[in-house]
């Protein structure tokens, strides 16, 4: 049993290992051919970046920054989840909203979230307090995916499901609970997964640009590295940001979605 599980994990892991290997290989290749910054500094390799992460952990820089960033991500994401869900529900329940709000959401979704940064900075980053500005950017980046996920999965419910609900006399909260909620769940979770990617992206844009020495996250380490010309630090931050983005997706959202689809027979078991 245990061996089987191990084998399964290995089998699931190897494509990822290969992909990461290729990426690191290309990176190392660039180092070997001697890519330099205009200032003449050599490009740090993967080994340098990992060593730098070790150093940043040791000097107690990166862990607090990571915690700070994850906290922002979690709060911003949850707010986006609430807002996106409310808007999605409103659009589903009130047909008049459908056409207008639907295309607006699609438009918002295609907007790079970095465009919200100047507005957020101007209106919300008051007196060195950047948190509200950061949340705003994250919410604007992530909520459209949630609302769109809910809306499009509602639109994709087979008409027969509605007929069935009506023929059973399902109404009110029970109708939503037993039919609508369950039927839209896969699309909702797909929206949640996409929203994570968007909120992580938005958060980095916000941290990088809004910046603040008072409470710094991963984005600020990256920006710090840039302004001090500390290339290893920059790449250490970049690597950490990439790994966290992938890890949250692979450990939280992907299994959630896969389990859901498998139970409904929508992917092979």
């Amino acid at each position: 049993m245990e061996r089987n599980r191990l084998q399964r994990i290995l089998r699931a892991a190897w494509p990822r290992v290969v992909a990461i290997g290729i990426l690191l290989g290309i990176w190392q290749l660039l180092v070997v051919v001697g890519v330099q910054s205009p200032g003449g500094e050599p490009l740090p390799g993967p080994g340098d970046a990992i060593a730098e992460i070790g150093y940043l952990v040791h000097t107690d820089v990166i862990v607090p920054a990571l915690v700070q960033t994850l906290e922002r991500a979690a709060i911003g994401y949850l707010l986006a989840l609430v807002l996106g869900t409310l808007i999605g529900l409103a659009v589903v329940r009130v047909p008049v909203l459908r056409a207008g709000v639907g295309s607006l959401l699609a438009g918002l979704q295609s907007l790079p979230s970095v465009v919200w940064v100047p507005i957020a900075t101007l209106f919300l980053a008051i007196g060195g307090q950047i948190e509200n500005a950061v949340y705003f950017v994250v919410i604007m980046g992530a909520f459209p995916s949630i609302a769109m996920g809910l809306m499009s999965s509602y639109d994709n419910i087979p008409p027969l499901t509605f007929s069935l609900a009506r023929s059973m006399g399902a109404r009110g909260p029970r109708y939503y609970r037993h039919f609508i909620f369950s039927a839209t769940l896969p699309g909702y979770v797909a929206g949640m997964k996409q929203a994570w990617a968007f909120s992580w992206r938005s958060l980095m844009a916000a941290e990088l640009i809004i910046g603040s020495t008072a409470s710094s996250g991963l984005g600020q380490i990256l920006d710090n590295g840039r302004s001090l010309g500390d290339l290893p630090e920059m790449f250490a931050a970049l690597l950490t940001i990439l790994v966290v983005g992938i890890a949250v997706n692979d450990l939280v959202f992907a299994p959630l979605e896969r389990g859901l689809l498998r139970r409904r027979g929508l992917v092979p078991a």
Binding site: L160, S163, S167, R263
Partner: protein, 264 residues
Amino acid sequence: MNVALAPRPSVVTLEADPFVTLNGVTKVFGHGKRAMTALEDMSLEMARGEFVCVLGASGCGKSTLLSLIAGLDKVTSGAIEIADGRPAVMFQEPALLPWLTVRRNVELPMRLHNLDPDQRNQTANRLLSMVGLIDFADHRPHQLSGGMRQRCALARALAQDSELLLMDEPFAALDALTRDSLHDDLNRIWQETGKTIIFVTHNVREAVRLGDRVMLMTPRPGRVAQIWDVDIVRPRELDSFEVSGLAHEITAQLRAGAVIDGAK
């Protein structure tokens, strides 16, 4: 509401006031040039507890008729009256909810009507045993065969415990043996509960075996072609002399009118 399948007297007499009345029912899909008359001027009265089988070629409007009676679509003209209650529908496709197990699917109508868990569980067990799915209670619909899905849908329709049961080719996907045993079950349930049943089928013998009356529809537009009273004592056998005899007669009528393709 009633406990599911509580015994009721199996009186099949035509009462003075009918349970289901179709009065000049016409259904047109689309508008203008695209308009298509699916049903035209259909009238029928059904007594409480009656079992009517509907025969007709593919596309002649049988499913349309059922969805109008179920109140899932509106008539273009004419009227449909049901004395009381909401019909339970067994759709042509199983329409199982993929996120629920077989048991949960069957329990769904009882959940919607707030039956207590004990009763729900008991009824589900009984219905699942009846349709031979008790060992698959914890499977999900995608793990079932086509015929098993139909049987699950049958159990669910029965769990709804409506007085009026609308069935759209419920046994089309089943092998002869399973079909035969479900005929027995349906016949028994109908006799025990006094449900009123409208049963759509392509199979003439099936119609004769089950129905008090057999209604034949003409295609494009769908109309009532002819209605036969089936005065054969129950329980009937699919290959009995009487059933075969009437089935022959109906089939001959079909051929004459060429209203059904490849009649059995």
